[in-house]
């Protein structure tokens, strides 16, 4: 079949991470202690494809663009990067999406700064753009169109923009604008170099198409936007929209029909589905979970929850317990994994950078909210992968110390805590100077606290969460042992690192 529009991404995105989303985090790091090929196999194995090279599971964002084009009558398909040479000679445009093209987002930037090696996602994307099929496609006049949540990075990469001959960058929700761009390609009309779709131009629920093929690990979006208004986040700029349950079910059926029976509910805050502002409500949450668990799914996880919503939900009707009881009674699992954000342990900084994060509670209570949420999640077998953010604007050493103290308060609750360096997104996206940063002495101490916390709980998490694939289990076990071993040998050096960092020895410079 000939496709006018070939949609793809690099290997670190075009993969199902062995069915374990958390393994996807490893694509944001350089290979540590093992050969890069093995590292890539652990975190980004090749997906199953059909005879045309169309992946059974593909990133959800690409699926939405594919669906928008198909619904508008275009010949479009997602193609695995290894099969581009088969399709590009006949295609009119190559559409590429990514969530971190150049490794400038967190945690890629953090790993890169600490380990002083480029993360594999960046290397993999650059290799895709330099690959023979893409170069030949461009040299024959093909159009290259780029989209996805990390397109802001291209505004800092003008040399590569020119070198690779990128025709159009689309920043923002792309379902509507891509149809116009595709028509221009077919009509031979000029393409805009850059398009930013404002929140006012965001597609309505009716304009958001239903995916046509399965999404990676059964990810289904249940809402868009977030009302919390954190200054470092781009999602908060989008209008809030709840997907109707019928639409969610329709997409789940696309997945189950393709043999994907895991369901990963996606939103910036699952607990705010149908909420009253930032106050979770039992009725829509139970209705949603009852409906999705009535489908042919065999496991369920949540993409993100906010810690304040966990606390509010549990304090007001024990919603967390009701939800997890429902999930564990309907599918074969007794834990649920979720990402969440601690970001800081400093109420002062929380008030400046994320005043709505603790809502409906005051930001002054943030550390207590975090601890209570971790306790609730532990009681209900919810395993959080949490982030802290270092180098937040206006951060002082005392703020970082408060974060370290908070991590210490959490030590008895299972989870992972990942340190990330601040990335200027959302309303702070113009602060490009923050892409450069210095690793300060207190940052080393915070990263060390995260490592100690995470290694304490890693074996338990590995048992509860890891892929059933014996080689993946072995690979991750070996990796954990290597990290533990390295940690022991590092202990003596950490003091030295702190001393060196305090003298400004560690910097990460993009500009």
């Amino acid at each position: 079949m000939k496709y006018d529009f070939v949609i793809t991404t690099d290997r670190t995105m075009m993969t199902n991470h062995h069915g374990r989303e958390f393994l996807g985090f490893l694509t944001t790091s350089p290979a540590i202690g093992i050969p890069e090929r093995l590292w890539m196999w652990i975190c980004a194995p090749k997906p199953k494809v059909d005879k045309e090279g169309k992946p059974v599971e593909a990133p959800y964002g690409l699926r939405k663009i594919e669906a928008a084009l198909i619904d508008a009558g275009f010949k479009a398909a997602i193609i695995d990067p290894d099969y581009l040479s088969k399709h590009l000679p006949k295609a009119k445009a190559l559409l590429i999406g990514h969530h971190d093209f150049f490794g400038l987002c967190a945690p890629s930037n953090t790993w890169w700064a600490v380990i002083k090696k480029e993360p594999v996602n960046r290397k993999s994307f650059i290799a895709l753009m330099n690959s023979r099929p893409v170069r030949e496609f461009k040299s024959h006049g093909g159009k290259i169109i780029i989209g996805g949540p990390a397109v802001w990075q291209w505004l800092h990469m003008e040399e590569l923009w020119e070198k690779w001959g990128v025709d159009t960058i689309i920043d923002g929700e792309g379902e509507k604008v891509i149809v116009d761009i595709a028509q221009r390609v077919l009509d031979g009309r000029p393409l805009p170099k850059y398009v930013y779709t404002s929140p006012k131009e965001a597609p309505s629920i009716e304009e958001i198409p239903t995916i046509k093929g399965a999404s990676v690990n059964g990810l289904i979006e249940i809402m868009r936007g977030c009302p919390r208004g954190c200054k470092f986040c781009s999602v908060t700029l989008r209008p809030l929209r709840f997907m109707p349950i019928e639409k969610i079910i329709e997409e789940i059926r696309v997945n189950t029909k393709a043999g994907v029976h895991h369901l990963l509910l996606h939103s910036e805050d699952i607990l705010l589905y149908g909420a009253d502002g930032v106050k979770p409500r039992e009725e829509p949450l139970m209705k949603l979970h009852n409906a999705v668990l009535s489908e042919d799914v065999d496991s369920l996880s949540w993409a993100h929850v906010s810690l304040a919503a966990v606390v509010y939900a549990q304090r007001n009707g024990r919603i967390m317990t009701k939800l997890t009881d429902l999930i564990y009674s309907r599918v074969e699992q007794n834990t649920i994994g979720v990402q969440t954000g601690i970001e800081t342990g400093s109420p002062r900084l929380a008030k400046i950078i994320m005043p709505g994060k603790a809502a409906p509670y005051p930001p002054e209570k943030w550390p207590d909210i975090v601890e209570e949420a971790f306790s609730i999640m532990a009681d209900n077998n919810i395993i959080p992968a949490a982030t802290i953010i270092l180098n937040i604007p206006e951060e002082t050493p005392d703020d970082v110390i408060k974060t370290i103290e908070l991590i210490d308060r959490l030590k008895d609750y299972p989870g992972l805590i990942v340190p990330m360096y601040f990335v200027p997104l959302g309303v702070l996206k113009n602060k490009k100077e923050l892409l450069n940063f210095r690793i300060k002495a207190e940052h080393v101490e915070a990263m060390w606290a995260c490592l100690e916390y995470s290694l304490r709980w890693a074996p338990k998490l590995a048992d509860a969460y890891l892929s059933k694939h014996p080689l993946v289990r072995l690979g991750v076990r070996v990796l954990l042992e290597i990290i533990k071993f390295k940690k022991k040998s590092l202990e003596g050096r950490v003091r030295q690192l702190i001393e060196e960092a305090s003298k400004g020895a560690y910097t990460h410079k993009i500009y």
Partner: protein, 123 residues
């Protein structure tokens, strides 16, 4: 839903200040869309540093930026005729003296529209 359209003709050394001025005007006029059409022989690599700060700063407007070379004038006219919302748009042309004839041609092509022309001094 008012559209603000900026056409810049010339080398890009003054583009940054022109874009900043235009952005402020668009805010004052409560526009919802900003169309930027750059006619120059400069490459995208030279254009992006001029527009980067405004693009990163912007969260409210829809922005569409076109880049045409001097040899693509016909394409540019035809595209402007299509994308400019005639009943709901104001157009400002910023042009360096050596390319004033292009501004004249645009005014002839889009004659039914309200167009302001400003000369940009070359640095």
């Amino acid at each position: 839903m008012k559209q603000h359209c900026l056409i810049f003709i010339g080398a890009t050394s003054r583009l940054r200040e022109v874009i900043e001025e235009s952005y402020r005007k668009a805010i004052a006029a409560k526009s919802s869309d900003l169309i930027i059409c750059i006619v120059t022989n400069c490459s995208i690599r030279e254009v992006i540093p001029q527009v980067r700060d405004i693009f990163l700063h912007n969260i409210v407007f829809g922005i569409t930026m076109y880049l045409f070379s001097y040899g693509e004038m016909e394409k540019m006219f035809s595209e402007m005729e299509r994308v400019v919302d005639k009943g709901n748009s104001d157009i400002t042309i910023y042009v360096t003296r050596d390319h004033k004839e292009i501004a004249d041609k645009i005014m002839q092509t889009l004659k039914e529209m309200k167009i302001e022309v400003k000369e940009v001094k070359i640095l």
